[in-house]
């Protein structure tokens, strides 16, 4: 199992049946492939609809029906189309149960950086800033380090997406939650030690007294 799959499988465990969720591209979207039996989530798309899924047949192809990544999709029974303001009203208004996004950096204060690397071309902000501020629960799904560089820091060093909004970090080595403003190590992957996590982490964190092994 590669890192992406480990992370996606663990993310999938966070969903409850009926959750309204907005998932970033990559690992977050991949997580829906591993939903537990009996758990269905409603996918919200920034461009203006919810309850979408992939095309199931050639007849579904409709150029007016895309998701926020620009892929053709189908809005299923019970889904709704709306305009951009309503789409972000849903986000900002706190109606999204969970959003899962990748990160360049996260810090111990719950700050997130995932939109801009100084000196590189910025692709943009899109709906990310609104999602992180608005969603009830913000889950960061990412690989633990980037080419050896630490990503879970004392303080983000690149421009932030939002401050103090991250609730949970899911990686291939460990799972953290923020509790009362403190980063708490909740789970480690089989074979990964707390010491190893400490070495790979700049952020301060506490270890949960019921530290668990990630079960995928």
């Amino acid at each position: 199992m590669n890192n992406r799959e480990i992370i996606a499988r663990r993310v999938a465990q966070e969903f409850e049946d009926g959750d309204f969720v907005n998932l970033g591209i990559g690992i977050p979207t991949l997580s829906t492939a591993y939903l537990p039996e009996g758990v269905n989530v409603v996918l919200h798309s920034e461009n203006g609809h919810y309850n979408f899924g992939p095309l199931t047949c050639e007849e579904d192809k409709d150029p007016d029906s895309i998701n926020a990544s620009g892929e053709l999709c189908v809005v299923r029974n019970g889904g709704v189309f709306f305009d951009s303001t309503v789409s972000f009203d849903i986000i900002r208004g706190g109606f999204i149960d969970k959003t899962v996004l990748g990160a360049l950096q996260v810090d111990q204060e719950g700050n997130l950086a995932n939109w801009k690397i100084p000196g590189r071309v910025v692709p943009g902000i899109g709906g990310g800033m609104d999602l992180v501020v608005g969603a009830k629960k913000v889950i960061i799904a990412m690989e633990y380090t980037a080419k050896g560089e630490k990503k879970i820091l004392k303080k983000c060093t690149i421009p932030m997406t939002a401050t103090g909004e991250v609730d949970m970090i899911i990686t291939e080595k460990a799972v953290f939650e923020r509790e009362n403003g403190v980063l708490v190590l909740k789970e480690t992957y089989p074979g990964v030690t707390v010491e190893e996590i400490r070495e790979l982490t700049e952020a301060g964190f506490t270890v949960d007294e019921n530290l668990k092994t990630m079960s995928i």
């Binding site: 305009d83 303001t85 071309v121 501020v133 932030m160």
Partner: protein, 215 residues
């Protein structure tokens, strides 16, 4: 009440330096005919207001590729490498706006509001130059209205009074952009007689629309 005109007449109203809202999300909802006509007209120094710069060969991105855009107010340029190139080479200015803030600023511009308070962007670069206001213990940024000289809208059906409906995800930014420009141009997939649209199901009342542009 909307007037039906030709593309040529529409283009006659557009001049160098005008700000232009182009509806659509990754070109879905964009009236390509109007964009193509503007590429042909080759006016310059426009300010583009759009969700994104779309693709090099689709949607608002075509104006970027043709170097007609001086400044873009958008939430995303990642799907248009030429926009990125012009940006890093200082050939085009970009104001990045969070997408929810962008559409709400346009809504304020259309509807006579002086701005709104959003929690989005507090404590980030987006806050620079903006007023932070605390309401009941929570911090918000005061975001100001956005308007344009003209807007390009694609509708699904339009009646001859300019009442519009949209289809599926092609609705996106079209609803607000139809309200916030001095001149609103609409290209509809189909123009129908007045009375053919259900009065409960019109998504953009014709009072907002200036011109229906015919093929």
């Amino acid at each position: 009440m909307a007037k039906i005109i030709s593309i040529k007449e529409a283009m006659g109203m557009i001049q160098d330096g005008m700000s232009i809202m182009i509806a659509g999300f990754l070109a879905v909802g964009t009236p390509e005919k109007l964009v193509d006509a503007l590429v042909e007209k080759n006016t310059k120094n426009h300010t583009l207001i759009a969700i994104s710069t779309a693709y090099p060969n689709k949607g608002s991105g075509k104006l970027v590729v043709n170097k007609q855009i001086k400044k873009a107010i958008v939430s995303h340029i990642g799907t248009n490498p030429e926009a990125g190139r012009q940006y890093i080479n200082d050939e085009m200015e970009i104001e990045f706006v969070p997408q929810g803030t962008l559409v709400e600023r346009i809504r304020c511009g259309g509807f006579g509001m002086g701005g709104f308070l959003t929690p989005t962007g507090v404590g980030t670069e987006i806050e620079e130059g903006k007023q932070r206001i605390s309401i009941d213990g929570k911090d918000y940024l005061l975001e100001k209205p956005l308007r344009a000289d003209v807007s390009f809208i694609r509708a699904h059906k339009a009646d001859k009074n300019g009442n519009l409906t949209y289809r599926k995800a092609a609705r996106n930014s079209n609803v607000v952009m139809a309200t916030a420009a001095d001149i609103t141009f609409v290209v509809a997939d189909e123009i129908v007689e007045v009375g053919c649209l259900d009065q409960d199901e019109i998504m953009t009342p014709g009072i907002f629309v200036d011109y229906l542009v015919q093929g």
